[in-house]
Amino acid sequence: MTTRFRWRMIAGGLIGLLMAGFSSGMTWAAVDAREHDAFWLWTGVATQPVLDQARTLYVLQGQISATRRDRQTPALIAQGMSVTRLPQREVWIVYRAHSLRWPESIYKQLLGQVQRWRDTGTAVAGVQIDFDARTLYLQEYVVFLKDLRQRLPPELKLSITGLMDWSSNADSRAIGELKGVVDEVVVQTYQGRHSIPDYAAYLPRISRLGLPFKIGLVQGGEWQAPRYLQDSPWFRGYVVFLLNQK
């Protein structure tokens, strides 16, 4: 595993430098996890000292996808760390969905696992759904999220990861319907290891969606905050995707 990370880092780093050098006068800063306090913790990522300073954690716990045996009915497969008591102030339980057609058993297992997290004394803020909602499926996604919101205990929040191209291409009506359903969108500004050069063009539209949003960064990636970001009433900070550093 370590060798893979290493290579991606080198490749991503070079591309980033090239972009920084030739494309603009902006200085791009590498994302230093030590300057942040909210992180995604994904499967296979080893413990890092920055976790000690984390106030918010997004912890991957499962993946929902179809099995070979039954292409129609997806199953929930566990991912990531064991259920345990975590000290952070705010812990989000993250599920990666490849399918939105969940049988009842998945809701039961998912809510059961979230409850087990709460039973440990961990401060569970809510559930985050990570779904690759291309514009095509956006309407279906909104319907799904409304239903999920109904099923969640009212004291838990609902977060989703968002795509940059939502704000440019997506059906704005569908996005509008997310208001009051999801509590936040965490928008990804990177592709592989480097930030998307056009993010500066996308973000203004995102900040107009009328939804609280955070910006997802990748550890070691590049990022330069656009000036208007801090002025956006909807901006709620950053979440850094941790990678193995070796």
Binding site: G44, T47, R68, Q113, L163, G216
Partner: protein, 721 residues
């Protein structure tokens, strides 16, 4: 052009983590058309043993040769097709065709339980159990506290002669109650166990329940003591199960402090206790080699070896599980074992192991560049004895080392067999592939070409033929024999390979030929599109005027997407070349693209013509068109393009108009307006051509606002970037 879709979080997994979340293939990947790669790219693998492959792919190739598994690439999904994939190269997860299976024991356990309870005259309020609350793949010792194991216990109650009916009932009831949870304080535990049993058999079952509940509660010392008291039990199930549970209890005790709170194995955890765990497991396995828990016990042994850091034994475990155990004895399906071997062994190894299979896979991994512990010649030479029974494998590793690490193709050739065998398993195919690549690297393109051709009819295993087609196509391309790819008897039928060559390097005569002779409608339309597009963008207006005549007045609206290099739903149709300019979105009217080309044919600096060619590009989303992107050196389609000279850029066109003292007022104002907008809103130039400094853009803005302030464009533009 749409930017490649951004998959939230998933992309990171797909690209860097490789394994753990690969049950589905909808994480983004893109093909990279080359056979030469020494660094890992999980999105791009080849069906021969190479350091550039994901280790799981190399392991599968080796296992296929041993007949331990069948290589069955999944059919290309709609998404992979939309990402531009053909058969080869392929993403690692295309070979992962067994997914983690659902848990069937859940239903069968409940059914067995209902049956048994009926016999005892008992019923239950709920079918929920603490063990079944977990997710598939979630780790907890509590998972075994479920119907399946409880039914085993209750079944034994029915089969044990010395128990009274009351004792059976109260023991069964106690076991059912224990299904509700996994942790009980001592007093709660005492209240759940039947207090009033008389027979020695019943007392033994109570002792078992006490030990089991101690085990689930994490009181491992009490649990082990309890299970040990049953070692001489006359009830055979209790005796066997207790012996197995002693091993499980020791393992759980030993690993208690092995992980930090985030689930990572601590580097400095105490490894001394694992010897005792291993002994307990071996004791069970020698007493019950085909016992009811021997499969599980063998699996636990793997965990012990992992926790103890005993990579030699762990490597032997995986080799046995994957190649010898067979379905009946293997702890898990091959897919899960391959994944686990990658996570737990291959990525952690630092040197050779006693397993040739695992060592060969690992050797290939550590031939990759930029590694702190890259394989050395001495280390590899030191493995000779290990590969004594597989000299061909050892020779292949030596050849790969010469080629990828030493960059010495001549040395690689010396270590590869000259003769092509009749049957190509993946090792033989790898030998011949590497030979061809070494020949090409040594600039002997004709010899490599002859080899690729010779191998083609022998390629019978999955994906071999498609790799050879790619190799041969690249050879033809680099040998200046591109037309052979498209000859009527060409063996190269891979659609993507042909389309990439048409889009990137074909010249006009070849494109004209393929408009008529393409092997599919897509190829014919693509050839026509590429021809017309490149003539326009390379300022060959006369040729465009000629060739566009073959296009119907209303061309088909069939979208050409990946065949032009687009991904996902982006694309163009041949109707592009009937663009009539009528919309005039910014109030600047243009004639049809045919008339624009005609005007530029007369005068290459025609201001209206240049602005309107820019308008054609802008309005049809042709900025950054994939056909204009040159592949990386060494990739398919990276040789000298068939169309020479610079590609027209909008920015350059506007600059020509701005500098043209004879240009009409509106033309000049519009060129300024558009040139400034090339940098909107991010400050990046989206119009192609050479970047200009901000000061120049400022000058344009000033000129537009002063000299042309009265025009609509002068009025409407408020900023420059």
């Amino acid at each position: 052009m749409r930017i490649r879709s951004l998959t939230p979080l998933a992309l990171i997994i797909g690209a860097t983590m490789g394994g753990q979340a690969q049950a589905s293939s909808d994480d983004s990947c893109y093909p990279n058309w080359s056979l030469l790669r020494d660094s890992l790219d999980v999105c791009n693998n080849l069906p021969f043993l190479t350091p550039g492959n994901d280790s799981r792919v190399n392991l599968r190739l080796l296992l296929a040769d041993q007949k331990a598994l069948t290589l069955q690439p999944n059919a290309l999904t709609e998404q992979e097709l939309a990402e531009g994939y053909g058969a080869v190269p392929f993403a690692a997860f295309r070979l992962a065709n067994e997914e983690i299976e659902g848990d069937e024991s859940e239903e069968s356990g409940a059914a067995a339980m209902a049956d048994l309870l009926g016999k005892l005259g008992l019923s239950r309020d709920s079918n929920d159990t603490a063990g079944q609350a977990f997710l598939q793949g979630e780790g907890s010792r509590c998972r075994s506290n479920r119907d399946e194991s409880a039914a085993d216990f209750i079944g034994q109650l029915l089969d044990t002669a010395g128990l009274s009916a009351t004792e059976r009932q109260s023991l069964a009831r106690a076991r059912l109650q224990l299904l509700d949870a996994c942790t009980w304080e001592a007093d709660k535990q005492a209240s759940l166990l039947p207090p009033d049993v008389q027979s020695s058999e019943a007392k033994a079952f109570v002792a078992y329940l006490r030990a089991a509940s101690d085990f689930y509660s994490g009181r491992f010392s009490d649990a082990e003591t309890g299970f040990n008291t049953l070692a001489e039990s006359t009830q055979p199930w209790l005796k066997e199960t207790a012996l197995y549970m002693v091993a499980r209890t020791r393992l759980n005790a030993a690993q208690q402090d092995a992980f930090d709170e985030y689930g990572s194995l601590k580097e400095d955890h105490d490894r001394t206790a694992y010897a005792g765990v291993g002994q307990a497991i071996e004791r069970y396995l020698s007493a019950y080699p085909d016992g009811r828990y021997s499969r599980s016990a063998t699996g636990l042994l793997r965990r012990v070896h992992w926790l103890a850091g005993d990579t030699d034994k762990l490597a032997a475990d995986y080799a046995w599980q994957l190649t010898e155990a067979g379905d009946a004895r293997a702890s898990a399906p091959p897919e899960a074992l391959i994944q686990e071997a990658d996570n737990k062994l291959l990525t952690a190894l630092t040197g050779a192991t006693p397993s040739p299979l695992m060592t060969a896979t690992h050797d290939l991994m550590i031939m990759r560049p930029h590694l702190p512990n890259r394989l050395t010649r001495e280390q590899l030479d030191g493995q000779k004895a290990l590969f004594a029974a597989q000299p061909a494998m050892f020779d292949y590793l030596q050849a790969a080392f010469a080629f990828y690490v030493d960059k010495n193709p001549a040395e690689a050739l010396k270590r590869l067999p000259n003769d092509v065998p009749e049957k190509l398993d993946y090792l033989a195919f790898s030998q011949q592939t590497l030979r061809g690549l070494a020949l090409e690297d040594g600039n002997d393109l004709p010899a490599a070409q002859a080899l690729w051709l010779k191998l083609l009819p022998l390629a019978q295993q999955p994906l071999q033929r498609e790799q050879l087609e790619l190799a041969l196509a690249m050879n033809y391309e680099r040998s200046g024999q591109l037309t052979k790819v498209f000859a009527s008897d060409s063996p190269i039928t891979s659609a993507q390979v042909r389309l990439i060559l048409l889009g990137k390097v074909a010249d006009a005569p070849l494109l004209r030929q393929q408009i008529g002779q393409g092997i599919s409608d897509t190829e014919k339309s693509t050839a026509q599109f590429v021809l017309l597009y490149k003539e326009l963008l390379h300022s060959q207006y006369a040729a465009f005027a000629d060739d566009v005549k073959a296009l119907p007045d209303t061309p088909a609206d069939t979208k050409l997407g990946t065949s032009l290099g687009y991904v996902y739903d982006a694309g163009q149709t041949l109707q592009l070349f009937r663009w009539n300019g009528a919309k005039a979105e910014s109030g600047y009217a243009c004639p049809s693209i045919g008339e624009i080309a005609a005007a530029l044919q007369v005068n290459a600096k025609d201001a209206k013509g240049l602005n309107c060619l820019g308008e054609f590009i802008l309005r049809n989303g042709l900025d950054g068109m994939p056909l204009d992107q040159k592949p990386d050196a060494g990739d398919l389609g990276s040789s000298e393009p068939g169309f020479k000279g610079a590609v027209f850029s909008r920015l350059n066109g506007y600059q020509t108009v701005i500098a043209d003292s004879k240009a009409a007022r509106d033309d000049k104002a519009y060129a300024l307006f558009r040139a400034i907008n090339c940098y909107a809103p991010s400050g990046y130039n989206s119009c192609g051509g050479k970047d200009v400094a901000p000061a120049v853009r400022k000058g344009w803005f000033k000129q537009l606002k002063t000299s042309y302030g009265a025009t609509n464009w002068g009025k409407s533009l408020q900023y420059y970037w």
